[in-house]
Amino acid sequence: MGVEIAVEGLGKSFGPQTVWRDVSLTLPPGEVSVLLGPSGTGKSVFLKCLVGLLRPEHGSILIDGVDLVGCKERQRYELRKLFGVLFQDGALFGSMTLFDNVAFPLREHTRYRESKIRRIVFEKMEMVGLTGAEDKLPGEISGGMRKRAGLARALVLDPEIILCDEPDSGLDPVRTAYLSQLLIDLNAQIDATILIVTHNINVARTVPDNLGMIFRKELVLFGPREILLTSTEPVVAQFLNGLRHGPIGMSEEKDQATLEAERARYGDGAELPEIVPQLEPSPGLPVRDAVRRRKDRLVQSLHTLAPAAQQNVLSSLTEHEMARYGLRRSTRAGGVL
């Protein structure tokens, strides 16, 4: 099973400029999480802090019980072997062919024979649909292919944690859908903890078990997908609907006067889009253990959720599960006993 990442009170600033402060969240082991946020809110910075490329000024990041912020350099390199990271542009090594790129982690960290390396690399290349492009250089292929090759390289050591920085940017909607499916399938197969940083609403609505959002230098909220998808926060509504009116402005946030004017014109906040069902693993793959674990967790803390989220959680449970958790479906919509 994947590894839990517990972030506590994290704060990062570049000189006088604060990127975000006091971010606390726990990525449950083996589950898929998405972090949303408008452009320029420091999502990528957050990701880089998680892998120890940037050093946050405050707080701690516990990975498998080890604090990444305070630990020794050698420990950090060991911890990083747990990670598979997909960078925005793939970050392939420009002087190596795709094959060598994907084989790089194996050659550095394992003593496998070349035949075994070839087998693993071809398997991962096939997984991301790049069979036949092994001998190309990163400069000779499209951005989408680079991204997929970057994913293959991230997966080659069977990581416990997969971090994706905007896996959808530069990809067409169809390929984005394939990639989303691939991540879910991966989760079903190797039960890795996955964090996706994106501003693609579609990915956010269909892929994750947990959703979070960064805005105004703070984590607005983070929790099971039902919470954010039913949230009454104006920011969330604006973001999920992709609207102009709301707290998010073109450059930064809006001032009070503009907000008042907008409220007069458009009324109070937009309706949230309906919650769509989560992606299922492809047929033939095992059931995702994460789903069961998450439901266990959710049902236990059900009473702490807002009514809308509660209702949503309940409607996602089958009769069988309701019985297992000892819940009854009340006649009133959303009522629980």
Binding site: A91, F104, P105, G150, R153
Partner: protein, 257 residues
């Protein structure tokens, strides 16, 4: 304009930190032998010809200058002695490193810089591979090795250039020129010359790598970094050369005549 010394000191500190890190990781396995050979070949191939071409006029100028001076005081027979000393102890390590910093170091800096802005270095770090150990150490070692070896060649070519201009152009005596070789120069001069080359090679490599790993924003930043790395290396070079020469002259007394 910000004139606070803190950012400048921070840069110096990080440069030193990288130097120490390189030295520390030099001895740690796995050793990147393949990368070292590639980089060695690259640095050597871009610096052999230019340094040979530069060292000929260098030796020649020293030879010509000395030639006209020594004739005035009637010490023609010491032409060779002075020219060998100047070439081996001073000119050769400096020429070698100027070329290595200018030709090899700039290429190393540009290479690492473009890798940094393309996030390749980040990606490597995330894959659990130390970029300093994997990329910087072989490059610095290559620069050091090439500097030491090239230093020998530059000395020979420089002395030969001096010989040619002194004997052929100024009509000096070949026998006297050769015979006076060891009148002033001694073996420690050669050692200190090689030691200087080794140190300068290390400096050139570390400065190039440091600027390459910290470019300021975008492709333009990489260009600036390359420029800075060459300039910084040159400045450091002459400073360190002054220190080493002063210390050397104190430790090893000049040969009496």
């Amino acid at each position: 304009m910000n004139l606070s010394p803190v950012p400048a000191m921070r840069q110096v500190g990080s440069l030193f930190a990288l130097g120490l890190e390189v030295f520390r990781l030099m001895w740690r396995r796995p050793f990147q032998f393949r990368e070292l050979v590639q980089q060695f070949w690259f640095v050597a191939s871009v610096s052999i010809l230019p340094s040979a071409l530069v060292s000929i006029p260098f030796g020649a100028v020293i030879g010509l200058q000395l030639g006209s001076l020594t004739t005035q005081i009637g010490a023609e027979s010491f032409n060779g002695a002075a020219s060998v000393l100047a070439v081996i102890q001073q000119a050769s390590p400096i020429v070698t490193t100027l070329i290595i910093a200018g030709a090899g170091g700039s290429a190393i800096c540009a290479d690492l810089g473009s890798r940094t802005i393309r996030e390749e270095i980040d990606a490597m770090e995330v894959l659990g591979v130390s970029a300093v150990q994997r990329l910087v150490v072989p490059r610095v070692l290559a620069a050091m090795l090439v500097a030491v070896l090239l230093n020998g060649m530059v000395s020979v070519v420089g002395v030969a250039g001096g010989y040619f201009f002194n004997v052929i152009m100024q009509g000096g005596t070949p026998g006297a020129y050769l015979a006076s070789f060891s009148a002033l120069a001694q073996l420690p001069d050669l050692w200190v010359s090689e030691l200087k080359a080794l140190m300068f090679g290390f400096l050139a490599g570390v400065v190039a790598a440091y600027r390459g790993l910290h470019p300021r924003g975008g492709p333009k930043g990489v260009g600036d970094s390359v420029n800075q790395s060459v300039v910084i290396t040159f400045l450091l070079l002459f400073f360190v050369n002054g220190v080493v020469t002063a210390v050397y002259l104190q430790l090893v007394p000049a040969k009496g005549m």
